[in-house]
């Protein structure tokens, strides 16, 4: 029983990362109708910014998260305004390939700058945690989960309570009507992608805390972001939060299966994905649109 509780806790904590990775991906997908294959590259850029600030200036890694967000917002805004807006009305295959190309460029530029060495961020409290009898709650994942929830809440607030957020919602509902009422589509699209990139940057900062990063370490997170968003249901931040936590639970329980459970992590994740897509395509929390 204690073991089960421990697994549930670890699963929810692991889910924090997936929430952070998923919300930005889901926003871009839901509003711009782009499956952003460059998401993993943006994530890992955030990771490198955190690593650089931590090693050079000895900043607490969690304090570097706002820097990640701002830097990636600027990058994301520029990418959408300068490049992705050019093919926004093309069929989905083209956005797939364009973002894949961007991913290739970004990852390889990182390789040129940082090389392929593993980089890790290890503050003094890494690896420590609360202990309640046999149950352990490690600090870093706990704060990460808190940061991810805060990020999601901030994003939801921005989308539902601010002028630009309402404009983004209007675009998601009907692009042509949004343009008719005077929304500057180019700007609003770029802000949306920028916000998605900012979330990716924060996720990258959190990821640098739990694993050693390389320029290619972000790629699995693109796939996992897919699964998380589909699991929760496209179109709402809260649904992605549920999807992320559920994915963390599935992953931790899959890895705890004795024998070769851990090597099937991807197969289990994608098996789950296909199952959800076929039986409940609107996601766990989604509404049919």
């Amino acid at each position: 029983m204690a073991n089960f509780v421990q697994l549930v806790i670890l699963g929810l904590l692991a889910g924090g990362i997936y929430v952070a990775v998923g919300v930005g991906f889901g926003l871009v997908w839901g509003v711009l109708n782009i499956v952003n294959l460059a998401h993993g590259a943006l994530v890992i850029i955030g990771g490198y910014i955190t690593w650089q600030l931590f090693t050079a200036l000895h900043l607490d890694p969690f304090l570097t998260l706002p820097v990640d967000a701002v830097a990636l917002f600027v990058l994301g805004y520029a990418l959408q305004r300068g490049v992705i807006n050019r093919i926004i009305r093309a069929p989905l295959l083209f956005t797939f390939l364009l973002t894949f190309g961007l991913n290739l460029v970004l990852v390889n530029i990182l390789l040129l700058i940082f090389g392929s060495d593993f980089r890790s961020v290890t503050p003094a409290y890494a690896g420590k945690g609360f202990e309640f009898g046999s149950i352990v709650i490690p600090y870093v994942p706990l704060i990460s989960l808190g940061a991810a929830i805060l990020l999601s809440a901030g994003l939801a607030f921005l989308l539902n309570r601010t002028r630009i957020g309402l404009a983004i919602n209007a675009i998601a509902a009907d692009r042509d009507a949004a343009q008719l009422v005077g929304i500057d589509l180019r700007h609003a699209y770029a802000v949306t992608y920028g916000l998605g990139a900012a979330c990716a940057g924060v996720a990258g900062g959190l990821i640098a805390l739990i694993q050693a990063i390389t320029p290619t370490a972000g790629e699995p997170y693109t796939l996992q972001a897919f699964v998380v968003v589909i699991l929760g249901g496209l179109g709402r931040v809260s649904a992605t939060v549920v999807g992320g936590l559920a994915f963390g639970l599935v992953e931790v329980f899959a890895q705890s299966i004795p024998g070769s459970g851990s090597v099937f992590a991807n197969a289990i994740a994608f098996g789950l994905l296909v199952l959800v897509l076929v039986t409940r395509p609107q996601g766990l929390m989604g509404r049919l649109r």
């Binding site: 807006n85 050019r86 040129l112």
Partner: protein, 360 residues
């Protein structure tokens, strides 16, 4: 207008003849390396290293052309076709390495098993559309590779595990040539199948599905059967290439027959050449494969990139490839077959029109 049409037809004919000459050269040049030709003092028309490149190109022609059947003609963005390549390779590999079948008997089973698998997963997956189908098929591609590597039975890996499968070498004179012609035959077969499809009831049904699935269904196209047939056909051709690859390469493991990058490469090739056409994907495969190898510095003809050290070379090559991808997608969305086929001319006006068509 009439003059343009005539000049377009003329250019189309020129490109057709040039392509035929190039293909004939590629197919005949290797023959000059045969012992008989060498003893008759026929000059060697191609370095032996080129056979390997040509065989790889033929392999990618099969994959890109096969992808075109499901992705280009049917309009379903399949992102996991590498699964069929791997399944084909492992089918042939297992039959040869474990069951000791002869290669020529084991090869026909590769497309059969790949097609059966495609039909099985296609039934649920092809109900999904757009992004959802793309993601789910990508998931199948990843999951199959992982399962094949990790399935154990009674403590023993069933499919060779992480160390892969080693096949006995196929004993035949001029092995390199044999596999080159075998792969070229597979490439010709895939192009012939596409040519036939675009003139058949099946092809018209699939195009109808691509343009408007509901309308196709109302008109009496059995959309499920048609889509599964297209998926299985693409899988069979890809699996055939995988089967040939396994015996050619002699070694099969997760990394060399389930690489995720193949998924992207075959799509990119089809797109670069022109999706939905007969020769587009093949053209794209030749161009892109040569370009990738050229940038990576692995071709016999090479060059130095300015300001780039030899260590950074492969990385810079990837950056260039990514930038090229971005440029092609933005400016040449219908593929280069438009120019070669004489339908349009490469001009600033064409590039500007492509840009305007899709930009915000």
């Amino acid at each position: 207008m009439i003059a343009t049409a005539a000049s377009n037809r003329r250019r189309q004919r020129i490109f057709l003849i040039a392509g035929a000459i190039l293909a004939a050269y590629a197919l005949l040049a290797p023959l000059t390396s045969l012992d008989a030709a060498q003893s008759a003092n026929v000059p060697l028309l191609a370095d032996k290293f080129w056979f390997q490149i040509a065989t790889n190109i033929a392999m990618f022609i099969v994959m890109a052309t096969a992808w075109n059947i499901i992705g280009g003609i049917t309009g379903y963005a399949a992102f996991g076709n590498v699964a069929f390549f791997g399944i084909g390779a492992y089918t042939t590999g297992m039959l040869i390495a474990k069951a000791k079948w002869p290669f020529l008997l084991a090869l026909p089973l590769a497309p059969v098993v790949a097609a059966a698998f495609a039909a099985l997963v296609g039934l649920p997956l092809l109900r999904l559309r757009g992004h959802y189908f793309a993601v789910a098929s990508l998931g199948v591609g990843v999951a199959v590779g992982e399962l094949v590597q990790n399935i154990d039975y009674a403590g023993q890996p069933v499919f060779g595990g992480a160390s892969g499968l080693f096949l006995p070498i196929f004993r035949i004179d001029n092995r390199g040539l044999f596999f080159f012609y075998l792969m070229s035959a597979a490439a010709a077969l895939s192009i012939a199948v596409t040519w036939w499809m675009l003139r058949s009831r099946l092809g018209y049904g699939l195009i109808a599905i691509r343009e408007n699935e509901e309308a196709a269904s109302v008109l009496g196209v059995n959309t499920t059967a048609y889509k599964v047939a297209a998926f299985a056909l693409a899988a069979a051709l890809t699996g055939l290439a995988g089967g040939i690859f396994s015996q050619w390469n002699v070694f099969v493991n997760q990394d060399n027959v389930f690489p995720i990058t193949y998924n992207i490469q075959m799509i990119l090739m089809a797109l670069l050449g022109g999706t939905g056409t007969v020769f587009g994907p093949a053209t794209g495969a030749v161009l892109l494969y040569l370009l990738i190898q050229f940038l990576g510095g692995t071709l016999p003809i090479s060059f130095d990139l300015p300001f780039v050290s030899s260590d950074a070379r492969p990385i810079v090559a990837q950056v260039i490839l990514g930038l090229l991808l971005v440029v092609v997608v933005i400016f040449v969305p219908r593929g280069v077959i438009d120019f070669f086929g004489g339908r349009t001319r490469l001009s600033v006006a064409y590039l500007r029109r492509s840009l305007r068509e899709t930009s915000l």
